[in-house]
Structures are given as structure tokens and as C-alpha cells.
């Protein structure tokens, strides 16, 4: 196997480029290695590393080793951190789910408060909300809609499975927050049924 027995110059070029802190031109390498003609060694090395986990590449006349681009995902390990959606984000998500497609201005008018851009970012990072185009009205505002991941996360076949307004009212979920809160604190010892207490622990 020819590769195994790399000649001394090839080995020297390999080691020098490996140890170098910056990409090196062939000239700089040659100077470093006593004036030898390093080009054949460079192309031999490039051949040798082709298809391996590490590649020898030339960028703007400078050579350096880099990990193979298709392995980039392996070099970045992801660690999941479970986070609960904030109450504001939950509200925005609910509004999008019930009213989609919906613009930010519409979300704000439904919520009655301003919505920070970060809230929508979080929902998009979670993969539950996507930009669904623009509304063809003056200003062409971006409109948002839910994603299939949204349905999957909440175990829904379709958005139609979301409870309607009447059902929400029947469950006490349309009571003003204050009353629901009072009802919850009036019975402090027992509120195992969340639908009954309607507390706002979010």
C-alpha cells in the first residue's frame, strides 16, 4: 500500500500543516522545510485524505487540514434542555392555533397587550409556529400559522380538535381571571381538578 509508506517530505508537510496555527502557503511551507518543493507532497496528501474524516484543502493559496464538511454535525453535540413555555408565549401560541393565519398586529389586538418579537422566536424555535406568508393588505404584514409539529406535540389530528369557545366556557375557562382566581383560593384545600379551579399557575 503506497499510502502507508509516506516519504519523509510528505510526512514533514503533513506534520507541519497539522501543527500550524494558520493555513500556510506552499511557499511558507517550503521555507519552513528547507526549500523543498512541497507541491507534489501537498497533492499526494490531499489525495490521501480525500474521503477521510479530515481533509487537506487549499483556500486562497493556503493549505490547511479541516474536518470533512459532511461530519460537521458530529462535531457539534446537542444537549437538550427542557423548558416550559412562558405564559405570554402560551397565549400567543393559542391565538395562532385558534386564528391562524394571523399577523402579529392581530395577535396583539386579541391579546390586548404588545407581543415581543422574542415570544414568536421561541415558538418558531420550538417548531410549533411558522411564517405562513404575508397578508395582502397595506404593509403586507407577516402572518403566522402552526406546524405539523404543533399538532404532534399536542396530540391533535387537526386544529379542529381544539375545544371550541362553548366548551371553554363550559369548563370555566372563559371566566375572568380574577373570578377564577378567587374561586381557586376560596377552596384552598382541594383543587385537584384543574378545570374546576381554573387557577393561573402558569
Amino acid at each position: 500500500m503506497t499510502d502507508g509508506a509516506a516519504d519523509d517530505l510528505v510526512r514533514a508537510v503533513e506534520a507541519a500543516l497539522f501543527a500550524a496555527e494558520e493555513p500556510m502557503t506552499a511557499e511558507a511551507l517550503s521555507t519552513h522545510l528547507g526549500g523543498a518543493d512541497v507541491r507534489p507532497a501537498l497533492s499526494q496528501l490531499a489525495d490521501h485524505y480525500r474521503g477521510r474524516g479530515v481533509e487537506l484543502v487549499e483556500r486562497g493559496r493556503r493549505w490547511h487540514f479541516q474536518t470533512a464538511p459532511d461530519l460537521a454535525h458530529l462535531l457539534r453535540r446537542e444537549r437538550e434542555q427542557v423548558r416550559r413555555l412562558s405564559r405570554a408565549a402560551t397565549e400567543v401560541l393559542a391565538i395562532i392555533a385558534y386564528h391562524e393565519p394571523v399577523s402579529r398586529a392581530e395577535i396583539e389586538s386579541i391579546r390586548g397587550v404588545q407581543t415581543s418579537g422574542g415570544t414568536l422566536d421561541v415558538l418558531m424555535e420550538a417548531g410549533w409556529v411558522r411564517v405562513a406568508g404575508r397578508r395582502e393588505v397595506p404593509g403586507r404584514p407577516v402572518i403566522y400559522a402552526t406546524t405539523p409539529e404543533f399538532l404532534a406535540h399536542f396530540g391533535l389530528q387537526s386544529r379542529r380538535e381544539l375545544p371550541g369557545i362553548d366548551e371553554l366556557r363550559a369548563a370555566g375557562l372563559l371566566d375572568p381571571v380574577e373570578d377564577a382566581f378567587e374561586a381557586a383560593v376560596a377552596e384552598p384545600e382541594e383543587s385537584p381538578d384543574p378545570l374546576a379551579s381554573g387557577s393561573e399557575s402558569a
Partner: protein, 270 residues
């Protein structure tokens, strides 16, 4: 062994002071030509080890007597040069002098531990220190990372990215929607009907009752007897205002003897 590490040669001025002490030009191992500065050793054991090495024999075979002589001679010469000699070197010199004399004494006069045992212990210690000096030199001569071999100059680095796994329960979602609706629904405030005594009925009741008596009456006596709870408080307030109104019209007198005392009321005789 790198002997150069072990020896520091004399500074020039000291060298000129005395005769036979040639310094830097002397080859290591040329005992007589060496000027040795005590700072060059890591203690008397280290000096002894160097002197022993100069016997050019295995440490197992060194002559302790010769070594003692060399050490004492060295210290004496250093003293003659008025070099400062640390106490532990002098202690070692004294101990070696004792060891030498004990070794030279007839066997039967020897104490316990025998000088041979002391000499053996010294030899064992020198062997161990020598072994470590040699090991250290071999270690330092290895191919060392960052001097002889190199790691990758510019590693990309392995990154650990934190990704957020967002959680939201179905119930939280629909409740949030309910709350948005509840919060933004038009609010209609309905006041429940409460049992009250109007000012008009209080005026007619108080004036009617004042008509049947000339005596002072306490305000509470004017309240309807069946009234209690909220109705009684309403009646009291209304009756008080009625009393003020009747007094303003000159139809009644009001008296109160003390702050928060009973309010008395009577008809103004006309």
C-alpha cells in the same frame, strides 16, 4: 545524567583568589580542578551523590570511606575559601567524620547500630536518589509535547450546543386561550339589588315619628324594627341624612353630648 546541571562553576573573582580552583574550563569529573559552589546542590545528600559518581563505579560498589574523605575534604576546602556553608552540610560532615572513625574502630568496640549498617543505609539512600536523578533526566529527554511533538495547531473544537426542548401542555394552551378571551371580552358590570332604605322613605319615616313625641329620641329608635344586617346599616345612614335634612329645614333639633355619643333628636315645637 547531566552533570552540567549539577554544578555551578565559580564566579570569576573567587577563582582568582586561590590557586588550584579552576572553574569553567574544567571537565566534569576532574575533581581537583572543580570549583563547586554549595548552592549548586540540593543538599548534602546531593553533594555526596555527585562525589560518589566521581568514583566512577556502580553505587553499589562505592567506597564509603573514600566518599567520607572526599566530602570532608570538599567542605574543608570550601571553608578555606571562606564560603558560606549551610548548617546541614556541616552536620553531614560531622556525621561522616563520626562514621569514618566508627568504621575504623575494632569490631568489638562497635555500638548499635553498627557503623556498617549506617554506611549501608547511606549507600541505599544514595542509590535511591541516584536512581531518581537518572529517571528525571531520562524523563526530560523524552519527546515532549509542545517541544518535540505537537498537537493540532488550530483545532476546530468540539462544541456542545444547548438546544431548548420547549414544553407546553394541552391544557395550558386552551386555558391560555380562555384567559385571553376572558381578559379581552367586553366587561358588563351588574350590581345586585340590595335591600336599602331610600332617603325619601327615611325622611317620611323620621318626620312621621317626630310628630308623635315631644321627647328626645335616639337616632336608632327611628329605624324599622325588622331591619338588620345591611338593611339596618342602610336605614341608619338614610335616617341620619334625613335627620340632618329635617334639622336644616328647622323641623328637628339634633344633640350629641360626646364625640361618637348617641345622636338625639326631637321635634322643634312650632
Amino acid at each position: 545524567m547531566n552533570a552540567d546541571d549539577a554544578f555551578l562553576f565559580a564566579p570569576v573573582d573567587v577563582r582568582q583568589e586561590e590557586d588550584g580552583w579552576e572553574g569553567p574550563a574544567a571537565a566534569p569529573g576532574d575533581d581537583s580542578a572543580l570549583f563547586l559552589e554549595l548552592d549548586g546542590w540540593e543538599g548534602p545528600l546531593d553533594l555526596l551523590l555527585d562525589l560518589a559518581r566521581r568514583q566512577k563505579v556502580d553505587l553499589k560498589a562505592i567506597s564509603i570511606l573514600a566518599l567520607v574523605d572526599q566530602y570532608i575534604a570538599y567542605i574543608e576546602r570550601a571553608e578555606s575559601l571562606r564560603l558560606e556553608i549551610a548548617a546541614d552540610y556541616l552536620v553531614m560532615a560531622a556525621w561522616l567524620a563520626y562514621l569514618k572513625s566508627a568504621l575504623l574502630l575494632p569490631k568489638e568496640e562497635q555500638e548499635d547500630p553498627s557503623p556498617e549498617e549506617l554506611a549501608l543505609r547511606l549507600q541505599l539512600r544514595l542509590q535511591r536518589l541516584g536512581a531518581m536523578r537518572e529517571a528525571a533526566a531520562r524523563l526530560m529527554a523524552r519527546d515532549r509535547l509542545g517541544r518535540d511533538v505537537f498537537r493540532r495547531g488550530a483545532p476546530e473544537g468540539l462544541r456542545i450546543d444547548r438546544v431548548n426542548a420547549w414544553q407546553c401542555a394541552w391544557f395550558d394552551l386552551v386555558r391560555a386561550y380562555g384567559q385571553v378571551n376572558a381578559r379581552t371580552a367586553p366587561a358588563i358590570h351588574m350590581v345586585r339589588e340590595r335591600p336599602v332604605m331610600t332617603l325619601e322613605s327615611a325622611i317620611s319615616r323620621v318626620s312621621a315619628m317626630l310628630g308623635v313625641t315631644l321627647d328626645w329620641m335616639v337616632l336608632e329608635d327611628f329605624l324599622p324594627p325588622h331591619a338588620d344586617g345591611r338593611l339596618r346599616r342602610s336605614a341608619l345612614a338614610s335616617s341620619f341624612v334625613a335627620a340632618l335634612e329635617l334639622a336644616r329645614l328647622g323641623k328637628a333639633e339634633i344633640a350629641q353630648d360626646a364625640v361618637f355619643g348617641p345622636l338625639r333628636l326631637r321635634r322643634v315645637a312650632s
